[in-house]
Structure formats: structure tokens, C-alpha cells
Assembly symmetry: C2
Homo-oligomer: 135 residues x 2
């Protein structure tokens, strides 16, 4: 039981998300919001449904998340010219500025995790194994 993969994953995820929330407490930002900003910053113009799928969120539930980020002025929806059905997502200037503030906090958060794991080698191993579970 102690060594059940699912149980261990759940406990680890709980611990890591809690640490994330503590690190970002002053920023009023959920892990998902951060993930959207980070994803868009490297992939401007992704379709709304592409971002949702990339993060494992159903498109119906993703609407409110984008609404929130848009209200905060961090993200912008633009109707695609090629296909008028799709909303292409972009970070605003404010959004990318905000992300620049967040990156050091995130880097520190990841460093703390690496320290717990015992080093970057161990972190890489972990990521590798976690990816295998998702194929």
C-alpha cells in the first residue's frame, strides 16, 4: 500500500501543489493559470481547445479559466481569420511582464523540488518515468 504507484503519485502531487501554492501565495495564481501563461508564452496563438487538451482540461471547463485570465488582462482571445470558429490565445504585454515576475519564483520552487529529490539527475529520472505513465 505504502508503495502503490497511484497512492504515491497522489501524495506527491498533493505535496508539490501545496508547495507551489505557498510559493505563489502572494500572487493569487493557481497552478493552472501559471501553466496557461507559460504555455502561451512559448506558443502564442494556440487554439483554446489545444491549450485545454495540452493541460488535460476539458474545453467546457477551460472557458472559465480563460475568462479569468482575460479579466485580469493577462491573456487575450482573438478570433482566427482562417477559421472563424476558433479562438486563438495570446499573452498580453501585461501577461508576459507578469510571467517575467513569476519565473524566478517558479525557478526557486523547482530548485526546492530538485533539492528534495537529491539532484537534477534524479529530477530528470523522475520526469522520464512520469512521462512513461502518460503514453
Amino acid at each position: 500500500m505504502e508503495d502503490a504507484v497511484g497512492y504515491r503519485l497522489r501524495r506527491a502531487q498533493l505535496a508539490v501543489f501545496q508547495q507551489f501554492n505557498e510559493a505563489f501565495a502572494a500572487k493569487d495564481l493557481r497552478p493552472t493559470d501559471f501553466a496557461v501563461l507559460l504555455l502561451l508564452s512559448c506558443n502564442q496563438g494556440l487554439k483554446q481547445s489545444e491549450v485545454a487538451e495540452a493541460l488535460g482540461i476539458q474545453r467546457a471547463n477551460f472557458v472559465a479559466i480563460v475568462d479569468g485570465l482575460e479579466e485580469k488582462g493577462l491573456v487575450e482571445r482573438r478570433k482566427s481569420e482562417k477559421d472563424r470558429r476558433v479562438q486563438a490565445l495570446y499573452t498580453t504585454r501585461a501577461g508576459s511582464d507578469y510571467l517575467k515576475e513569476l519565473m524566478p519564483i517558479w525557478a526557486e520552487h523547482e530548485e526546492r523540488l530538485i533539492a528534495r529529490l537529491g539532484g537534477t539527475r534524479e529530477r530528470d529520472q523522475l520526469i522520464h518515468l512520469l512521462k512513461r505513465l502518460c503514453d
Copy 2:
């Protein structure tokens, strides 16, 4: 982003829990229910709050879980003689019989995960790393 520890943990947990639910679909059993049965089978008489804490569930939310298992006749609450405040939890005969049915399904589930990871060595590595994140 692809390699953020928290993101990878979330995706992996989602995938593993989904596979668990598929494996146990015919059994009408959630991961948490199974965890309670398994934990009690090796630790009869644990306090309700001890089981809750062991599973990372708040005692207030754990009440309904025990209610459900008790209604199904799988688990039993007994007031402790030493301390009349505490509910000691035990699996019933039906509960341990049921668990015996579940164990092969669970074993198969874990085997599938081990296959994905590449072997038991990799599984042990993963468990080791996940435990480190929870200290």
C-alpha cells in the same frame, strides 16, 4: 513546461487513476475506498482519524467515506473501550472477502504500470523519488 515536476505529476496521476477506474469499473469502487480496505486489512482497529491522515484526507471529509463503506457492509466502526471518543475501524468478513477479489485486479493494474515504466527496478526508483517529495 513539459518538464515541470508539478505538471508531470498531475498528468501522470490523472492517467494512473483513469487506468485504475477502468480496471475497477465493474466493482463500483473508488481509489480511496480501495485504499481504506487495503490499509485496514493490515492494520485492523486503526482510529478513524489515523486512517484519514494516512491517506491525506481531512477527518471531516472522511466521515462520508466510512459511511459508504459501512453501508456496503465492508467496514465496521467500533467505539474504543479505552477512549470512548474514538471510532476504531475494522474490515468486516465481507470486507476482507471482497478485498480478496480485488487483489488480483489491483496486482494486474500495478503490473501494467510496471510494464509502462520499463520494469520493477524503474517502479522502485519512481516510488523512492515520489516519497522524497512528501517529507
